[in-house]
């Protein structure tokens, strides 16, 4: 029984991690139809921001939760202004350019900080369920995933800024004729997405090694999750994370982490074969 | 007369919208059928169900008595159906001749295809465009080149979705002559808007309204019917 609880918690933690890691990408793709292949590197920069800040004495929670989104949000704003803005509407070109950006970030960070893995040890220790122990940080991650999803939903549905953003995404010309500057909306949305990615990096820094290429471990999963999720940005990501995260964790338990990842890919491919527009292309179509 | 193409209670629904609401019709060999109706009446959606681009929600489609409802567009084309889309579908990077050759290449060798392709281009009076890249052609010319691609493989049935869209009066006139001439050898179904064009070619007309067939009759009777006029003017019709 205790073991079942542990497994359930692990599955939830796996799903939560996938949500956290995919949310920034979902916002940018879902709202702007921009495929940011440097999303993994935004994550990596967030991780580095957390590590460096903490290494210089900043409080752990501030290093993980506050600094990374600010830093990476600013990076995102710069990237949008200099690169993404020139390529709107050109989906393939955006993919390619952001891929170049991702390589550049990896190279730059390698030059600055070298190739070695650093990290922060996970705070909050562990707690016991019967004979088994599990990391309390996993519970924190689950909470973080829930809070972030709620936050995104709340901002988009309940705030005037969110409404503006959604309107602009649906029809930029219409929004412009109502006095909204689409450029500004795009810039803010992209930065927000980047900030979310950076925050994700900070959040997973204690459970993942931070090195220049860490982003590459997550980009594939995040992408697959967002695309399998379908058009509804938030619901799709949550649905896909739940499905793919569970399958991946279960397989990891039964075999090895690598097979867990392979299982995720296979399930996603099968899903896309059956539902070519993603999960929310068929179900829950009018959700956010 | 053999029935070439028939539909039976065809329904096409998208989410909450029923674009085609139980359409039953039959086209005979050698017939010239016009499908008319105001915007949003479901003509183009019906067209895409026929070509296999949409899988109908319910109902069936028959070709010479055989159920072809679930066929992919390429399979429908192979039956001997020539399809001309509303927005011209052409190979912009290829020359007019290369495009028509490809249309023939599935059934003929290289030399035979070139020969027939030239004939098709001449028939449509665009032979002079043979070596011009299609992407550079004017809209009316594109329509004619596309017609050449559709006609060259000598299909049993040609279905055209608004073939005169964007054509000048002169080109529309030429197109009408062309359709009548083509009808001597192929059955034709035309989905159209342009009433002048319809009047010039129409024999049997099927009128669409809100996804259903309002009436289907000889052209003169359809044009004289007050309901058809009302439907075009947007008045409610039972």
């Amino acid at each position: 029984m205790d073991y079942a609880v542990i497994v359930a918690l692990q599955i939830l933690a796996g799903v939560a991690t996938l949500v956290i890691v995919s949310l920034g990408l979902a916002v940018v793709f879902g709202m702007m139809r921009v495929i940011n292949l440097a999303h993994g590197e935004f994550l990596m920069l967030g991780g580095y921001a957390a590590i460096l800040a903490h290494g210089h004495g900043l409080n752990l929670w501030l290093s993980i939760l506050v600094l990374p989104p600010i830093v990476v949000g600013i990076v995102g704003a710069v990237v949008e202004r200099l690169l993404i803005r020139r390529l709107y509407g050109r989906m393939i070109d955006t993919m390619l350019a952001t891929w170049g950006l991702s390589l550049a970030f990896i190279g730059g960070v390698t030059m600055l900080f070298g190739n070695s893995v650093t990290g922060i040890s996970a705070p909050l220790g562990s707690f016991a369920i019967g004979r088994y122990h599990t990391a309390s940080y996993d519970l924190f991650l689950m909470g973080a995933a829930a809070v972030l999803s709620l936050l995104v939903w709340a901002v988009l549905k309940l705030t005037p800024a969110g409404l503006l953003a959604r309107g602009t995404m649906q029809n930029a010309e219409m929004a412009a004729s109502l006095g909204v500057a689409p450029d500004r909306v795009y810039a803010v949305t992209f930065s927000a997405g980047a900030a979310l990615s950076g925050l994700a990096g900070g959040l997973i820094a204690p459970v993942s090694g931070v090195l220049p290429t860490m982003g590459t471990a997550y980009i594939a999963k995040a992408f697959i999750t967002v695309i399998t999720g379908g058009a509804a940005m938030l619901t799709g990501t949550l649905a896909a994370s739940a499905l793919l995260g569970s399958v991946s964790t279960v397989f990891t338990f039964l075999t090895t982490p690598v097979f867990g990842e392979v299982a995720l890919l296979v399930v996603a491919i099968v899903l896309l074969r059956l539902l070519p527009r993603g999960i929310t292309g068929r179900f829950l179509r009018r959700a956010l | 007369m053999t029935v070439l193409l028939a539909t039976e209670a065809l329904v096409m629904r998208f989410g909450g919208v029923t674009a085609v609401d139980g359409v039953t019709l039959a086209v005979q060999e050698g017939e010239l059928r016009c499908l008319i109706g105001p915007n949003g009446a479901g003509k183009s959606t019906f067209f895409k169900c026929l070509t296999g681009q949409y899988k109908p929600t319910s109902g069936r489609i028959f070709w010479r008595g055989r159920d072809i409802t679930a066929l992919d567009p390429f399979a429908v084309a192979r039956l001997g159906v020539g399809i001309k889309t509303q927005v011209p579908s052409l190979f912009d990077g290829l020359t007019a001749l290369e495009g028509v050759v490809l249309a023939l290449r599935r059934q003929h060798g290289e030399r035979e295809s070139r020969h027939r392709a030239m004939q098709a281009l001449e028939r449509l009076q665009v032979a002079q465009l043979r070596d011009v890249r299609v992407g550079l052609l004017a809209h009316g010319q594109r329509q004619l080149v596309e017609l050449a691609m559709v006609v060259a493989p000598e299909p049993d049935l040609i279905i055209l979705d608004e073939p005169t869209a964007g054509m000048s009066a002169e080109e529309t006139h030429r197109a009408a002559d062309l359709i009548r001439e083509l009808n001597r050898e192929h059955a034709i179904v035309v989905v159209e808007h342009d009433m002048q064009f319809i009047r010039a070619i129409a024999r049997t007309v099927t009128v669409f309204h809100q996804g259903r067939v309002l009436m289907e009759d000889a052209a003169e009777r359809v044009f004289a019917d007050p309901r058809v006029r009302d439907v075009y003017l947007g008045k409610a019709v039972a």
Partner: protein, 329 residues
Amino acid sequence: MRRAALEIAAVVLVAALAALGLPQVLELFALINATVFVSMAVLALSLGLIWGYGGILCFGQTAFFGLGGYAYAVAAINFGDTTLAVPLALAVPTVVAAALGYLMFYGRISDVYMGVITLTTTLILFKFANSTAGDEWNIGSAPLGGFNGIPGTPPLNWPFDPASQLAPEQIFVVAVVCLALCYAAARLILRTRFGRVAVAIRENELRAELLGYDVRLHKLALFAVGGLMAGLAGVLFANCVFVSPTMFSLSYAGQVIIWVLVGGLGTLLGPVIGCILIQFLTTRAGSFSAVDPNLLLGVVFMLAVVVVPKGLLPSARTALVRLAKRGGA
């Protein structure tokens, strides 16, 4: 027909000159480097064919590159003779490409999703190959070696004569011959009905379908051919470098795309020239510069996409195409 024959003849001539001349002129290290360039050029050609002509943007062409290399190494070590290892090494990536192609094209998956799936495939293979250190990861007598790769891949030997292995100079000749053959094959394929339909599909998939062509099958077949060629590049690479997970890496995957983009999307020689040129420059740059190669590559990539509308350097491309036309593209 005459034009194609002329073009192929010209390329064969250049290849013959290179194959016979360069081993006389270059010292061993430079010659082995040249062999690497040539094997990469075959990889670039494979993507140039399926992307530039078929419109298939595969982000993970390196998947088939790596599979070819690994299949060759494992087979050669196990058989003790490379004669049958080569066809096996070519079959593996081709079959995988066909399977992946079936999943993607018969699922009518769009461009974007295809890019994601192919990219993910190569990344998964990368991760998998990296995790194969340790004895339980042997296939027959060949250790997969984890992130170190497979040690001691045997070089090609003369058919059915395992004792006489080819010298590096001879491997260079084999590589050049392979490049010329792949080019000729690609040219010829493009002239067949199949090839022209594939190009038409790139131009307008709907119209190709409405003309009665099975679009999915054509894309699948072309994709498999691309996989075969990339696998061949992998075999050549295995013979002049060594087989390791890097063959599947994101970095290599990106490089292939840059070569094709910068060299000229829509030509066959463009990617080849782009590949050799960029590799030459990066090796030169890498030897004295303090700049990380990823950084350099990334910046080149971004510039290539942004500065030019079609993602190409226009003057370089026109010059390259003119060069290629004179040489016989």
